[in-house]
Structures are given as structure tokens and as C-alpha cells.
């Protein structure tokens, strides 16, 4: 059986300009866990999750996925790794002029031969799966609509469907709802949590609203200045925890509000 365990062992990252993005991180993220990473702007949240699919490369330590150190991966292995680790972005990163379905199929590229994919010759079962995933996030009827005709919340759902169609073991989401209004943010987070649990995917989400983090996380990791300053299951987390992570009292701005449950 595949396990989707991610392990950071003494991981540090120094950017080429000398800035230390991560400082001696030690973490173990378990199979199927839904983890929310919080911290102030510049704390290193993006750096942490982007290390996992090697969009940035830590300069020290070991990063293990399924007990394999991914930091030594080159070209071919790297692409293989990235097919197994899906990513969701703040700005959706869809091609606006392309149809929703084509955007979702872009998630299959890593599994499809270069020539086949360039000619758009995807296997029918992949298309079935893409449609199925659009259905799971409730926008199947938009499959042939151009992506820029969709609302922000719908576009982020397309990108969730894209990531599912990739059939990853792990999902990374970098501030997935930061461009959405509060009610839409909650709907998208619910969808993300639901599909991630359904497929038993290990999921790491960066969020900066503490009420959102509390509502959706199984576990919270707090970062400050590139260091882990908190790591614990959701039932150990209180407002006080966030004050420790942020190093200051909690303000109105730290809360999204507008929960529609």
C-alpha cells in the first residue's frame, strides 16, 4: 500500500541572496492528514510547502516522501515527484483562454507522453476521470466554457479538479482562498477538505486567517522567521496559540469571519 508520509529532517533553506527561508525544520506529516500552515507574511509558509515539490530546493537536511529523499532528485525523478505532488495556487494559474476541461487535462500532462499530449490525444478514461472530478467539485456543466468566464470560486474549483486529475499522493495549497470573498472561501475550503479526505490525500494548506485554520485543519503548524514555533493537533489550538505563533495579540484582520455553516 502507498503511504503518503512526508518527513523533514533538519531541513534548512538559504536563498541565493543569503536570506534564510527555513531554519532546521523537523516535521513528520502523516498519511491522509490535513495540515494547515500558519504564520505571518514572510514567515516561510510558501517556502516550506514549495520545498515538498521542489519548486524551491532546501540547501541542508533531508526531505523524505515515502522514505525517499527527494532533495537529490534530478530532471526525470523530479518530474515524477511532481506528478505525485499536486499544487493549488492563490491565483488558480489557469490558462484563461482555454476551456475548463483542457485546463483540467493539463493535470494529466505528467502521465501522458509528450507527443500524445501535444496533439491532445488523451486516453478516454483520463477524460472520464477529468469530468468526474469536475462533477465532484460541482462544475461539470462548465467543462467546455472558457476558464475566464468563471467566477473566482469556480476557477479555484477547476484547479482543484485539475489537481485531482493528476492523481497525486499529496496536495499542496498555497493560500488557496486568499483571492476569494469570505463565503466563497468557506465553500472552496470545504470542497478541498472533502475531496482530500475522500481520496485520503495528505494535504498541506497555507492560510493566514486563524479562524479558517481552526475550522478546517486536523493539525496546525506555526512558522515564524523560518522556524516551526508550533506543531499540534487542532484540539490543542486556542487563540493563545496563534498569539504565540504571530508573536503579538490577535487582531480583527487575522479573522476572515463570514462562516456560513
Amino acid at each position: 500500500m502507498v503511504t503518503r508520509v512526508i518527513e523533514f529532517k533538519n531541513v534548512s533553506l538559504v536563498y541565493p541572496n543569503g536570506h534564510q527561508g527555513l531554519k532546521n525544520i523537523n516535521l513528520k506529516i502523516n498519511d491522509g492528514e490535513f495540515v494547515v500552515v500558519v504564520g505571518m507574511s514572510g514567515a516561510g509558509k510558501s517556502t516550506l510547502i514549495r520545498s515538498i515539490n521542489r519548486m524551491v530546493t532546501p540547501t541542508e537536511g533531508e526531505l523524505l516522501i515515502d522514505n525517499e529523499n527527494i532533495l537529490s532528485y534530478k530532471e526525470k525523478h523530479l518530474r515524477k515527484l511532481r506528478t505525485e505532488v499536486g499544487m493549488i495556487f492563490q491565483n488558480y494559474n489557469l490558462v484563461k483562454r482555454m476551456s475548463v476541461l483542457r485546463n483540467v487535462m493539463a493535470g494529466r500532462l505528467g502521465h501522458t507522453g509528450t507527443l500524445r499530449s501535444m496533439l491532445g490525444l488523451f486516453p478516454q478514461e483520463d477524460l472520464q476521470m477529468a469530468m468526474g472530478n469536475l462533477n465532484r467539485v460541482g462544475i461539470q456543466e462548465k467543462a467546455y466554457v472558457r476558464a475566464d468566464q468563471l467566477s473566482g470560486g469556480q476557477q479555484q474549483r477547476v484547479s482543484i479538479a485539475r489537481v485531482l486529475t493528476q492523481q497525486p499522493k499529496v496536495i499542496l495549497a498555497d493560500e488557496p482562498v486568499a483571492s476569494l470573498d469570505p463565503p466563497t472561501s468557506h465553500k472552496v475550503m470545504k470542497d478541498l477538505r472533502r475531496v482530500s479526505k475522500e481520496d485520503n490525500l495528505t494535504t498541506l494548506v497555507n492560510l493566514h486567517f486563524i479562524d479558517m485554520a481552526q475550522e478546517y485543519a486536523d493539525r496546525i503548524i506555526g512558522l515564524r522567521d523560518g522556524e516551526v514555533v508550533f506543531d499540534g493537533p487542532i484540539d490543542q489550538v486556542s487563540e493563545k496559540t496563534f498569539e504565540e505563533i504571530y508573536g503579538r495579540p490577535i487582531k480583527e484582520d487575522d479573522l476572515l469571519g463570514g462562516d456560513e455553516s
Binding site: 515539490n53 494559474n93 490558462v95 483562454r97 482555454m98 505528467g110
Partner: protein, 272 residues
Amino acid sequence: MPNLEKNHDSAPTRYPLTPKGFKWYIGSVLLAVLGLYVLSAYQTQAFPDRVIEGLPIMFYFVVEDLWPPNWGYLPRVAMSLLETWNMALFSTTLAAVAALPLSFLAASNINKNPLFYQAIRNAFNLLRTIPEIILAVVFVALVSIGAVSGILALTVFSLGILAKLISETIEAIDPGPLEAVRASGGNVFQVITYGVMPQILPQFASYTLYVLEINVKASVVLGFVGAGGIGIILRQQLNMFNYDNVATIIFMTFLTITIIDLVSNRVRERLE
């Protein structure tokens, strides 16, 4: 800093929109440019009186020599114009097909090797410094007089323009989708087909049409050095002082270019 409080009851301080020093600077630049104009007018002897004296000559040339056009010459003109059009069409198509892959190498967000990128850029810059007429002379020497030399010259000429326009379009696209394809394990060809191509397709088509317009005009000139098309018979008829035939050529060329520009502009507007 002016003290606003103190000026309270006297006349308020006046603030110029442009600082004084900058006015002097602009003034002297304008004066220098004007000086250059005067110098070049002297050097080329381009004085207004010469144009005014020439006007009647031009007038008589048009009404006595050019008018009326020889409409009997029309079939010959039509054939040559068709050749001009075909030259432009072939060369633009060839250039577009060749420019596309080269443009990716000349775009810094796709070609991540700085040395290779710079080399490609410099090669294209060098290519664009060669005037199309020189290219035509070279190709006429290589493959002899005729439309083929014209097609080759125009292909090389428009390759330079297209590669520049397209590579700059590629560099300006939204990097998000490229990042998404890379992050899901796509290779560089998949980044191009699923991240770049859909974003640049309208501009690519539009620039290609624009270059087609340029090529139709350029191929008129190229005929003068023997590279095929309408230019060949224009020069021939001018040399033989057959001004009624020349008039037919000029009129028909004007008409053709206008129609092509008109259609192409319409299509390009819809592409934006």
C-alpha cells in the same frame, strides 16, 4: 521648503508645474534637434522652393504622361501582382513556421540558459539590421533572378521581425499557467503547448498578418533588383518610358495593397 503658514495673508506662493531647470533642459534639447534639421536640409539640399518649383512638373507628368492609363496592359499587371502576392504569402508562411520554435529559444521565461538566450537574441538583432533589399541582392546572386530569390529574401527578412515580436509576447505572458504545468510534472514541450501557446495564439496570428502586409509592400521594391513580382515590370516600363503602362501598374498596386491592408486590419481587430 516653502512655509505655507507664513504666506497665509500675503499672495500665495506660485508653484510651477515643471521645475525651472527642467524647462531649460527641454528647451536646449529642442534647439539642438532643430539645428540638426537645418543641417540635414542643407546637406541634402531639400529646400522648400525646390518642391514648389517642382510642383508644375509633377502636375504635367501626371496629366500628360501618366494619364490615361493603358487598361489593355491590365492582364500583364494582374499576373505580376498575383506573383507579388504569392511571394508575400509563401515567405510569410515559411517565416511564421520557422519563427515560432525560434521565438521560444529567444524568450527568457522558456530558455533558462542565459548564454544561449543571449546568443539567440544577438543573432536576431544582427539579422534585423540587414535591409531587405540587400537580402534580395544576395539571394538574386545565389539563386538567380525570379520569384524564388524574392521569397527567400522576404522569408529571412520577416523571420527577424516575427521572432522579435513573438518572443517579446512570450516574455510578457502570465507565468502562472507555466508554473502550474511545471509543478504537475510537465516537461518543457508540455509547458509550451499547454501554458504558452494558448496565451500567444491571437497575437501570433495578428503579427503574422501584419508581416504579410509588410511583405506585400516590400516585394514591390524587391522586383527592382530582379527578385520577382510587380517591381520587375514597373522598372522595365519606367526604363522604356511607357508611362501609360506605369500608370496601370501604380493604380493596380495601390488598389491591391489597400484591399489587403483593409482585410488584414479587419481580421486583426477581431483577433485582439
